[in-house]
Amino acid sequence: MKEQKLLQVFGDIDDDLIEEATHRARPILLYRIGACAAALLLVAAIALLSFGKFTPLMSDPAVTTTVPVHHTATQQATTTKKLPEIAVIPHWEDKTLAERFPEATYGGNTYIVTNHTMDPQFVGQKIGSVTVHGEDVYTDTAHTTTAVLYAVKNIAQHCAVAVQYKDSNAYYSAIQSWYTPKTLGQFVEDLNLEHYLEVGAVYAENSHTPQDHLLSKQDVLRLLREDLSLPNVHDDRYWYKPVFSISVGIPVLGIENVSMAVTADGYLTTNLLRTGKAFFIGTERVEALLQELNITTTTRTTATDNSTTTSKPAVPPVISPPYIPE
């Protein structure tokens, strides 16, 4: 068939075109949301100033600063106003190396480089060198440089690496933000949570007061280790409503105050390393946890109680979706 021939021959297109397709679009969070937030802050600041709320602040030359305010990068519009400093998209020369070259692709993995610089004692073996690309959105100029990728000691390479840019001594932590473990065991092992996990306060539903020391690191690890074979069943379409969440982090990678939560319908969820992960630990286990921690909840449901689950699927997505390596 003709379309089969076309599909076959399409496989032989030039290598650079195939490689280019693996590059991701610019992350929304860094640019679009940043630009929106900057615009909102600008509007709020102007509104407050027009009502004279900031008069004492503005009259103090020690805290007054003159900043060019860029409404959006593409408009190139600059307005010089006397304002308290607000969020703006930084100019190329003001950016860190990680902000200039925010992505590094190696071995089929795309890493998002963070501003966190790592202690060299956690930097492992050299993995390889890559060419990284950046864009000055004000002048619409493309930049390239090289960087060396290093493993992070005892953390899987497909989760995170350390990036050292040319002519720099700093090691920036870089996250493979599409990392999707297949099981809870793989998740614990890949990130070496036994060693690197940090546990903070517990936030119970209906309570705005964080409770420190309610769960220790060993308590959380014990919960994670109970059944390491649990598959990751996270589904973007499903609403995982927590009954309590724990602030967790991996300081070595610069990850702090990320949620690890337990839901009324039996899931342990987290967005450590940015993508959602969900493991079905069962409603009975959740009930037991709530009792152990003396947490009360108004939306608690059990497998047999569907009265509050009308907006959710009747059957929780406990069956693992197809394995999609990324």
Binding site: M1, K2, E3, Q4, K5, L6, L7, Q8, V9, F10, G11, D12, I13, D14, D15, D16, L17, I18, E19, E20, A21, H23, R24, A25, R26, P27, I28, R32, G107, G108, N109, G128, S129, H158, P322, Y323, I324, P325, E326
Partner: protein, 185 residues
């Protein structure tokens, strides 16, 4: 280990080449095979066959980009395996969908001549290079990697409907391009 070093190991007939290739490229190659086959066993066999083909091909080949060199082998093997599976009436995978979409690209036959595959490949390269970077990435993700529309939308920070629209328009453009180049299939 860098590609050059791995290729050098292949040339020395050093079996570490296979270990290093597996370590660095298995996820990438599995993705290529998975999108076409959607069957874990078939995917694994396909990736393992890729290593064997690479072992037999290097030398004499000396690929500059090992990832795409291997990826092309995997894609070809996966499509062959899919064809065999279809013959066994096992079906599945995304290939039928891709073939159906590719029907939009078929040029109205203005010539009885069947274009050589190399000429067709060169024409496809020219067409792709004429697209914007974003549209090119989307088109290649869909028809080379066989990525789902949802996965592409996520990768490109865009909506699924916008991706579908871009794909539809690009397929129509490809059809007109092939006609203008007098390509016969």
């Amino acid at each position: 280990m860098e590609d050059k070093q791995i290729v050098a190991l292949f040339w020395k007939r050093d079996e570490r080449a296979l270990r290093e290739t597996d370590r660095q490229y298995r996820p990438y190659l599995t993705r290529v095979a998975h999108n076409i086959l959607c069957d874990r066993q078939d995917e694994e066999e396909c990736v393992n066959d890729t290593y064997l083909r690479a072992w037999n091909a290097i030398p004499p080949h000396e690929p500059v980009r090992l990832s795409t060199f291997l990826g092309k082998i995997t894609r070809r093997l996966a499509l062959d395996r899919f064809a065999a599976r279809t013959a066994e009436k096992r079906g599945g995978g995304t290939v039928p969908l891709l073939l159906e979409e590719f029907r939009d690209c078929l040029p109205e036959q203005t010539t009885d001549r069947v274009t050589d595959t190399i000429v067709l490949r060169d024409a496809l390269n020219r067409f792709l290079r004429g697209l914007s970077s974003e549209h090119r990435r989307i088109f290649v993700c869909r028809y080379w990697y066989a990525d789902s529309v949802r996965a592409i939308a996520r990768q490109q920070n865009s909506s699924e409907s916008r991706i579908k629209m871009i794909l539809l328009r690009t397929r129509r453009d490809l059809k007109h391009f092939l006609e203008s180049e007098d390509i016969g299939l």
